[in-house]
């Protein structure tokens, strides 16, 4: 149901992309599919913003790319994480954990009161 899907918050798309690519190298279309599969279709990734994100991350040297034969036999541009990308993902995960823990704490506090 489309209404159940919410747009992902600003700034988290980069993190999701990094995460997906940390599992294995993939092309843009696969990244889009994967994000949706993993999130059990609850997150709606705007496909149009996926590509600028990929390019931005590549320019920050967090991703590297190469043209490779895809599963359909056609050439596709595959992205993979660099070492710097891996470090960045770790940093973002950590800060995300902190943030969500903090948010949960605050919410729980409110529920107790």
């Amino acid at each position: 149901m489309p209404s159940a899907r919410f747009p992902i918050p600003q700034g988290t798309l980069d993190m999701l992309v990094l995460h997906v690519l940390s599992l294995e190298a993939a092309h843009g279309y696969a990244v889009a599919q994967r994000v949706q599969q993993i999130s059990r279709e609850t997150v709606r990734v705007n496909q149009g913003s996926l590509y600028p994100a990929l390019h931005r991350l590549e320019q920050k040297r967090w991703l590297k790319s190469e043209w490779r034969r895809s599963e359909t036999g056609r050439d596709a541009k595959f992205y993979a994480l660099t070492r710097a990308g891996r470090q960045q993902l770790a940093r973002e995960k950590a800060s995300w954990d902190q943030l969500s823990a903090a948010v949960r704490l605050i919410f729980n506090e409110g529920a107790k009161a």
Binding site: H27, G28, Y29, Q47, P52, A76
Partner: protein, 877 residues
């Protein structure tokens, strides 16, 4: 530059192509999946595109990320560069000043080159304008002078010109406007003249075929220049219909040319003429010829055709035996005299700039060495080699950009100085200014400067051995060995380039001094010159004698003025002007010889006392005197060159000669031989001359010469009154012979002054370069020197060590520079007078000056090295 741009473009194209493929892949896959889900193909296509948010939109969004990153990094680099430049303001100020100065000098000279040589002439279709000239096959030279019949044949037989016109004059002539007599530059032009230049009238109309007078009649119509109309009548419109009198002929002003049109030279008045009127003869070449090529005719074809026409005429007429025709672009003809000089100046100033760049590269290298640790740290933190290089280059770019801007401002002032120094008759030089071409040049120069002095140190610094640099830690760590070698190479280059410039300047200075000391054959000081023009109709004999009496009268009165020791007249005073074209000379009792093989001489009409006034020695025979009247047999005086060449091993006195085209004229008996004179250009050998007594012929208007012990201003006032009393319609203009001589040397003086200036700048820059390198080396060797001192080396042991190191570089530079200078000197031959391009004195002087400067530059670092206190240094370590 274009290579870099291409690289950039190719990179961008690849990015675009990749993005395109990437997005197409996405759409295709989505469409396949949607079709599998049961959608029809068109619908699937639509959905895929919508989901993506439109391919162009995505492309645009991705492109933004490229640009932002680029801008972001650039901004960061620039900010960083500014910070680092302001931190070491001493370096920035020094390097910036050197660069700003050299750029401004280059821009200033270039803006002159640009205006005079590169900008097309300010006429419509200027690139199709050509000068059609006589080509002398016996001397292999082109001459602008054309005979009337030749011109008419060229005009009739060619099919390459849209218009072909002849003209002559453009010189000062007396013109009577209302009740005043003034000098105006008047040119006689054939019917198509204005059409060649694509001119239209600013008021009235231009000259047409109908204005060209019938064979015996004088002209009745004239066109005047815009500024001339404004000066004399208030405006161009007010000039129309007014009458002016030129050489006794009264004519009506029918038109005014557009503002700025003055061809040839700075003509004020154009009169119509028929090319045969003045010279029906093929051996007389009074005209010049300009043409406009047809659009489809190129220069080569025009040259071939004119050559063919000229060759045919050569076969047809004996007078044309050594003549044919050639075509030269008008621009080349107009700037020819200055072209070589300007290119020499441009090369000289370019060398100064190279030296400046080498200097700054040296400074940057020293800086990079001092920053080894900073750079190593950045590299260790993950900055790629390219990134480090880029950052260093940005620094150079910011420096060059700032200096370029300052240089441009400075250049706008400098241009005026260069124009002020330059010879007066350079076409268009007054228009020299900073325009877009010059701006582009300045920008390019700044960029190339950056590449020259920024790239080498940047490459060098980026090739650091990381661990070593960090380990050694100190700010003056390792860039050392390769760096020191590079710096030495730069110093050698600076010295070598300075030697070349200095030697060139030395040759020019010595040659200029020699020029000034040439024995001209006459003395120039204390001689006042008064140009006058007594206008008469050539065909009214009565008037001619009136004129003759007028001059005799004025000269008599002038001789009676106290303080005037001699006074005389000459029809054509050659100094600083074009020479008169030589005429064939016939000697009574000898075979005439064939055209082109006869002796030739310039012909000058003078009065008695001319030789006395100019202190030209009379070698044999006598001067003209009052007994040489029209009734007496005609007499002539020849100069030594003619005496020697035409009368070898015999005395010319008493021999009779004839000259010019009129073979019915009376023979002239040679009554004297006088010393040679060099008029136009002191560097040229004297020409053969025949002097005739102006009192015997119909004569001409005369320039009056007076040798005086009086102040020239005061005498000029007296003479002006005297002339006015005798005839108020004769205009007069004063000059002194010294002034004329100065202007004859204008070109060599200009070259010498400007190159001399550049050479001195080069020497200073080279000295600074040597100083900075040695100071740096001393800094590097502080520890070693301290150890030496500690082990007992004395001051006298240390100083030679440093000086030796400096002088070794200087010696290599000197040798290379001398080799270069000697190679290039051959190219300077055309500019040199009486000085061999291999003049030993000049090269010894160069070595002395540069060696001296270098020694001075090594002294300070050497003394500093000697002052090293071993204890302090070694404790610090």
């Amino acid at each position: 530059m274009t290579k870099l741009l291409n690289l950039f473009r190719r990179r961008r194209d690849r990015l675009e192509r990749d993005l395109d493929r990437e997005l197409r892949y996405h759409i295709d896959r989505r469409v396949e999946d949607l079709i599998k889900d049961g959608l029809g193909e068109p619908e699937a296509q639509r959905r895929a595109s919508i989901e993506l948010g439109g391919v162009p939109q995505v492309q645009e969004a991705v492109r933004d990320t490229w640009i932002w990153r680029w801008l972001d990094e650039l901004l960061r680099d620039v900010r960083f560069a500014m910070r680092s430049l302001t931190r070491s303001w001493g370096f920035t100020a020094g390097a910036g000043t050197v660069l700003a100065l050299t750029i401004s000098a280059n821009v200033a000279i270039f803006s002159v080159v640009n205006t005079v040589l590169l900008q097309p002439l300010a006429y419509p279709d200027a690139e199709r304008l050509v000068s059609v000239e006589t080509w002398w096959t016996n001397t292999g030279r082109a001459s602008q002078d054309v005979s009337g019949p030749d011109f008419l044949d060229w005009q009739a037989e060619n099919d390459v010109f849209e218009q072909l016109a002849a003209y002559f004059g453009g010189n000062e002539t007396p013109v009577i406007v209302g009740d005043r007599a003034v000098f105006a530059n008047s040119g006689y032009v054939s019917a198509g003249f204005f059409a060649v230049f694509g001119q239209s009238a600013s008021a009235g109309r231009l000259l047409t075929q109908d204005d060209v007078p019938a064979e015996p009649a004088p002209a009745t119509a004239a066109v005047v220049a815009h500024h001339w109309a404004a000066t004399h009548f208030g405006s161009d419109r007010d000039a129309i219909g007014k009458l002016i009198t030129v050489y006794g002929d009264t004519m009506e002003i029918v038109g005014v040319a557009t503002p700025g049109f003055r061809y040839p030279g700075s003509t004020d008045v154009w009169l119509p003429m028929r090319p045969t009127n003045h010279a029906p003869n093929r051996s007389d070449h009074p005209y010049q010829s300009v043409g406009k090529l047809k659009e489809e005719a190129d220069l080569t074809r025009a040259q071939a055709q004119m050559r063919a026409i000229g060759d045919a005429l050569a076969g047809q007429y004996p007078e044309n035996r050594f003549k044919t025709a050639t075509v030269i672009p008008l621009q080349q003809r107009l700037t020819g005299s200055l072209e070589a000089t300007l290119w020499v100046l441009m090369s000289a100033v370019g060398v100064v700039w190279l030296i400046g760049c080498a200097n700054i590269a040296n400074l940057l290298l020293a800086r990079a060495a001092g920053r080894t640790r900073e750079i190593a740290l950045r590299a260790a933190l993950g900055a790629g080699r390219v990134r480090v290089m880029r950052q260093l280059l940005t620094e150079s770019c910011v420096l060059a950009g700032g200096a370029g801007l300052a240089g441009l401002l400075l250049a706008s002032l400098l241009v005026q100085e260069v124009v002020a120094l330059s010879p007066a008759n350079v076409p268009r030089i007054d228009d020299a200014r900073i325009d877009t071409t010059v701006l582009g040049f300045a920008l390019g120069l700044s960029l190339v400067s950056t590449a020259l002095f920024g790239l080498v140190p940047a490459l060098h610094a980026s090739r650091l051995d990381l661990s070593n640099a960090l380990k050694q830690g100190g700010s003056k760590a390792t860039a050392s060995r390769a760096g020191a070698r590079l710096r030495s190479v730069l110093v050698v280059a600076e010295v070598a380039l300075s030697v070349i410039l200095l030697a060139t300047a030395g040759l020019l200075v010595r040659s200029f001094l020699a020029l000034q000391q040439v024995d001209l054959g006459f003395t120039t000081d204390r001689v006042l010159v008064a140009y006058t023009e007594y206008a008469v109709r050539d065909d009214v004999t009565e008037d001619l004698w009136t004129r003759s009496r007028f001059y005799a009268d004025v000269l008599d009165r002038l001789r009676n003025v106290p303080g005037v020791s001699a006074a005389s007249g000459v029809a054509y005073l050659g100094m600083g002007r074009e020479p008169r074209s030589p005429r064939d000379v016939y000697i009574q009792g000898r075979p005439e010889g064939r055209p082109g093989e006869r002796p030739q001489a310039e012909y000058h009409a003078i009065t008695a006392d001319y030789f006395k006034t100019l202190e030209i020695p009379v070698r044999a025979g006598r001067d003209f005197d009052p007994t040489d009247t029209p009734e007496r047999p005609r007499v002539a005086i020849v100069n030594e060159t003619l005496a020697r060449t035409a009368f070898p091993r015999e005395s010319p006195i008493g021999r009779r000669i004839q000259t010019g085209t009129n073979r019915k004229a009376a023979w002239m008996e040679i009554v004297g031989v006088v010393g040679d004179t060099r008029w136009q250009d002191p560097s040229q050998p004297a020409r053969a001359v025949i002097y005739a007594a102006s009192t015997q012929g119909a004569g001409n208007s005369l320039s009056i010469l007076a040798r005086t012990s009086l102040d020239s201003q005061a005498l000029a006032g007296t003479l002006r009154t005297l002339l006015h009393d005798a005839n108020p319609t004769v205009p007069v203009k004063f000059e002194t012979m010294d002034e004329l001589f100065d202007s004859a040397l204008a070109y060599p003086r200009f070259r010498t002054q400007v190159i001399g200036l550049f050479a001195s700048v080069a020497v200073v820059l080279a000295a600074v370069g040597i100083f900075s390198v040695l100071a740096y080396l001393v800094g590097q060797r502080t520890r070693e020197l301290a150890v030496r001192r500690a082990l007992g080396a004395r001051t006298v042991d240390v100083i030679p060590l440093i000086i030796g190191q400096g002088l070794r570089l200087v010696a290599i530079g000197l040798v290379l520079g001398l080799a270069g200078a000697l190679t290039l000197a051959r190219l300077m031959t055309g500019f040199l007078f009486e000085i061999s391009p291999w003049d030993v004195g000049t090269y010894l002087g160069t070595i002395a000056v540069l060696g001296g400067a270098a020694l001075l530059a090594t002294l300070v670092p050497a003394i500093r090295a000697a002052a090293i206190a071993p204890l302090v240094v070694l404790q610090q370590e």
